[in-house]
């Protein structure tokens, strides 16, 4: 295993490059022999495409799964989750249990969503059931809050109706595809402001599913106080938490960047709401992340050369119910504040420690089971292999979500996480 790891990237970010350099890895171009390629999502499409793609050898690793879009495109994510739920229902799994209103008890974590223009009529039917509700329109293939807007009247989305005479676009053109979701108009507010959670999840393999959650997630606050007032529906500073949007606001502060650590959130919730409901909230968040991964696992191309670090966006409503908003394949590596830079640097560092063991030239045939010591700020979220071998003698360990500070999960020493006590 002599020789240094040769790396390539097409994302010029210091948090990446500093991490490669500190490991003594050697930078090469993509035409040369490389071992590690941190690529953008455009590049991964080329690598695995039928025409231009090429075979990766055993000592090459990339940071995306070939069809990650099954999870990271808004429309496909919803499709896969819906399919997953139906499958569980068909096989009579207790997870698919519904309440008296027909809502899933355990799997209702994505707001009601329709694809446009394909499901336009279905959407209209749903809209008419509660005509005072607000819906959010999101383009399927965009990021950073681009192209998002809120509506509360059917007339505002006339051009997506299938038989609209004013419609001029080509049907099913993926660029114009939108999803429309029921807007969470009662978000949990702190200090009167809306916020969302950004959590990082590393997946090293989908079958068996092995995923890790980064303990140092953060909340992104809006700079402006929240109001559900219809007159403010077009004020993106009230509704969209993306930093890319908020940083253009008048009150954006470059010192804290409108970000809170997840530990602060925990402290606040425990202090004001109590420990049980806070632990329950965090357990639910872990649950929905794992379920979303399980939903796409069957359709994912579980290429052994791949790992992926996702950015999960979660919104908590005022009943302390978490909602999965979307999953990002390429979470931003730009740093908006000093703390941010440190966090992202450490994130990449810990990710590389898990994906490229010992910092040596990788061998894709390895079992992808890193020792506990290298996890850094990651903790095991779900390990399917361990969960299955556990079987009947699994006991409920102490709650995984620990309050405050640099406390690691108490179950670390067992090598498996209490987060996986449910199958």
């Amino acid at each position: 295993m002599a020789g240094k790891v040769k790396w390539v990237t097409d994302i010029e970010k210091s948090v990446l490059i500093n991490n490669f350099e500190k490991r003594g890895w050697v930078q090469v171009t993509e035409n040369e022999d490389w071992n590690f390629y941190w690529m953008s999502v455009q590049t991964i499409r080329n690598v695995f495409s039928v025409e231009t793609g090429y075979r990766l050898s055993d000592d090459q690793i990339v940071n995306h799964f070939p069809n990650h879009y099954e999870l990271t495109r808004k429309d496909l994510m919803v499709k896969n989750i819906k399919r997953y739920r139906k499958e569980l229902e068909k096989e009579g799994s207790p997870l698919a249990e519904k309440d008296e209103n027909g809502k899933y008890l355990y799997l209702d974590f994505v707001p009601v969503t329709y694809m446009l223009p394909a499901d336009y009529n279905l959407f209209v039917e749903e809209f008419r059931k509660s005509p005072s509700s607000t819906w959010i329109m999101k383009p399927c293939g965009k990021a950073q809050g681009k192209g998002i807007f809120l509506i509360n009247k059917l007339s505002q989305i006339k051009k997506w109706s299938r038989d609209s005479k004013t419609s001029t676009f080509v049907p099913q053109s993926t660029k114009e595809a939108y999803v429309i979701s029921l807007y969470v108009s009662n978000p949990l507010l702190i200090g009167g402001r809306k916020f969302d959670l950004r959590l990082y999840v590393l997946v090293s393999t989908y079958r068996p599913l092995r995923c890790y959650m980064y303990k140092l997630g953060f909340c992104r606050f809006c700079t402006v106080k929240y109001t559900p007032s219809t007159s403010e529906l077009d004020n993106m500073f009230v509704h969209l938490t993306n930093v890319a949007i908020q940083k253009h606001g008048e009150d954006y502060n470059h010192i804290h960047g409108g970000k809170w650590t997840v530990n602060n959130l925990r402290l606040y919730l425990e202090s004001t709401r109590g420990k049980e409901v806070t632990s329950k909230l965090f357990d639910e968040i872990h649950w929905i992340i794992v379920q979303s991964l399980k939903a796409v696992a069957p359709v994912m191309n579980n290429d052994k050369h791949c790992f992926e670090c996702y950015g999960y966006d979660i919104i908590i409503d005022d009943k302390l119910k978490p909602w999965l908003i979307e999953v990002n394949a390429s979470p931003s590596l730009t740093s908006s504040t000093a703390n941010d830079r440190i966090l992202k640097y450490n994130l990449i560092n810990d990710t590389l420690n898990i994906a490229v063991p010992n910092g040596e030239i990788p061998d894709c045939k390895w079992n992808k089971s890193p020792p506990k010591e290298v996890l850094g700020n990651y903790e095991i979220l779900y390990d399917e292999e361990l969960a299955q071998s556990d079987g009947a003698d699994r006991e409920l360990r102490s709650r995984p979500g620990q309050p405050l500070g640099p406390r690691a999960s108490r179950t670390r020493d067992s090598g498996r996480s209490a987060l996986s006590t449910w199958k």
Binding site: G191, T227, S229, S231, E232, H256, N339, Q402, A408
Partner: protein
């Protein structure tokens, strides 16, 4: 009073308007207009570029350094008894053996939150039982027991209630009503000191990683465009109050705070109605609560926002914390929890138990108090991580004393002593001590008091 002479720096323009506003209420028509403006788009901020805080901690330190007891004859010759620090007032302060007795519950053999609830310790050993006892104390509403209990720290979920119990805050309907009246007062009358508060919040809490979220609880700064609410404003002023919770603004107008001057050696500043200077019947305390805020004042409230989200509760707790504890940090007295004693305690601890460090810092022109003063004046708010700060304030409540602030300050110096011994300037010393956000308070205190060889 030296402090009041700084007040001329407060005035923007023109001076006479500002003084008029001191005492006069607004005519009804103007009030209506204000209510409308309250909800207008854009920032309605006063131009604060000409405002500076009345005083900052370092100004206050200069005053303390110059305090002398005219009856005290020290003699000119230096001896081993000579105090090498900045404070030259011979107040009695405790030494470590006395502190160990006083803070016995922080000892090595007693369980603590902040130490014995860490991941490596199984919760069955201490934490679970401690939580159970806390719940029992709350169920019985026993204030004295709560105070004793909290010396070992409070579980996060119980803290809000425990503090309320210890501070005897019960939020009766009349308390809520009192607070609502203060809020109406905020809308109806403008005070010059409001601008000071506004500026302070903007300079401190708004920039803080932990507290920026709550800046609107401290002062409503951003007036948003609520087109529909603008109409409501003229009909129902109390509806607007729901949107803003200006704790500090209410605090300035709360004359009940004047009561604490009965046991505070300071006096509230007085102002006289125009043309009646010196005539007591025309004297008015200004601000109404007698407390002039200094730079960093809003940081006393900010941590409490993590515990209380009902505004009237937040207000009551803050007010009580202020009249019991915080006022001592910025008024001059000989009380053992007063800032003068705390400074002396800090310096004495350092000089007695870390003489080499103390001497070295003094030699390079970095008197330790110059660095630690700001921590103590703010009760460490804004310097420690919030969860650590709350553990510290638990002990302030539990021991009903602020001496722990001085002990912690000394413990921080002891912790970073190795690095401090290598610095050669005040700036370098400040740099070593600039970031306290990673410190764990309870281990530091425990080691300093109970595990250091003295």
């Amino acid at each position: 009073m030296m402090l009041l002479t700084h007040s001329h720096t407060l005035l923007a323009s023109p001076p006479c308007d500002a003084f008029l506003r001191l005492l006069d209420g607004r005519p009804v028509g103007e009030q209506k207009e204000l209510l409308n403006k309250w909800n207008e788009m854009g920032t309605d901020e006063p131009d604060l570029s000409l405002f500076r805080p009345v005083y900052a901690p370092k100004d206050f330190l200069e005053v303390l350094i110059n305090l002398r007891n005219p009856n005290y004859e020290n003699g000119d010759s230096l001896s081993f008894r000579t105090h090498l620090g900045l404070i030259q007032v011979p107040l009695k302060v405790k030494d470590i053996p006395e502190l160990k007795e006083c803070f016995a519950e922080l000892g090595l053999n007693t369980g603590q939150l902040g130490i014995d609830d860490s991941t490596q310790v199984p919760p069955e050993l201490f934490e679970n039982e401690h939580v159970r006892i806390g719940q029992k104390v709350l169920a019985e509403q026993d204030s004295a027991a709560a105070q004793q209990y909290i010396r070992q720290g409070s579980p996060t979920a119980l803290r809000a209630e425990l503090w309320a119990l210890i501070l005897n805050i019960s939020s009766q309907p009349e308390d809520i009503l009192y607070y609502e009246q203060l809020k109406m007062n905020v809308i109806q009358h403008d005070l010059l000191v409001d601008s000071l508060i506004y500026k302070d919040v903007k300079l401190t809490a708004s920039n803080d990683d932990y507290y920026f979220v709550f800046e609107d609880y401290l002062y409503q700064m951003k007036k948003q465009r609520f087109r529909t609410q603008a109409h409501t404003a003229t009909r129902n002023p109390s509806q607007i109050c729901q949107f803003s919770s200006p704790v500090l603004l209410c605090f300035s107008r709360d004359t009940s705070v004047l009561g604490h001057f009965a046991y505070n050696s300071a006096s509230p500043p007085k102002s006289y109605i125009r043309g009646k200077l010196g005539l007591e019947e025309y004297a008015v305390f200004y601000p109404p609560n007698g407390v002039i805020p200094f730079h960093g004042f809003s940081m006393y409230v900010a941590p409490l926002c993590f515990l209380y989200h009902e505004p009237y509760k937040l207000y009551q707790i803050f007010r009580e914390m202020y009249v019991r504890f915080f006022f001592r940090l910025h008024s001059i007295s000989s009380h053992p929890s007063g800032i003068v004693s705390l400074c002396l305690l800090f310096e004495t601890l350092l000089q007695t138990y870390l003489p080499q460090l103390f001497y070295h810092l003094r030699e390079i022109g970095a008197q330790p108090l110059r660095i630690s003063f700001k921590w103590m004046v703010r009760a460490f708010s804004g310097y420690l991580a919030t969860d650590q700060l709350l553990l510290l304030w638990d002990r302030i409540l539990g021991y009903n004393s602020l001496e722990i602030l001085a002990v912690l300050a000394a413990a921080v110096f002891a912790f970073r002593a190795v690095n401090l011994m290598e610095v050669t300037s005040l700036a370098a010393a400040e740099a070593v001590l600039a970031d306290l956000s990673t410190l764990k308070v309870m281990p530091l205190l425990q080691i300093f008091l109970f595990a250091t060889v003295t």
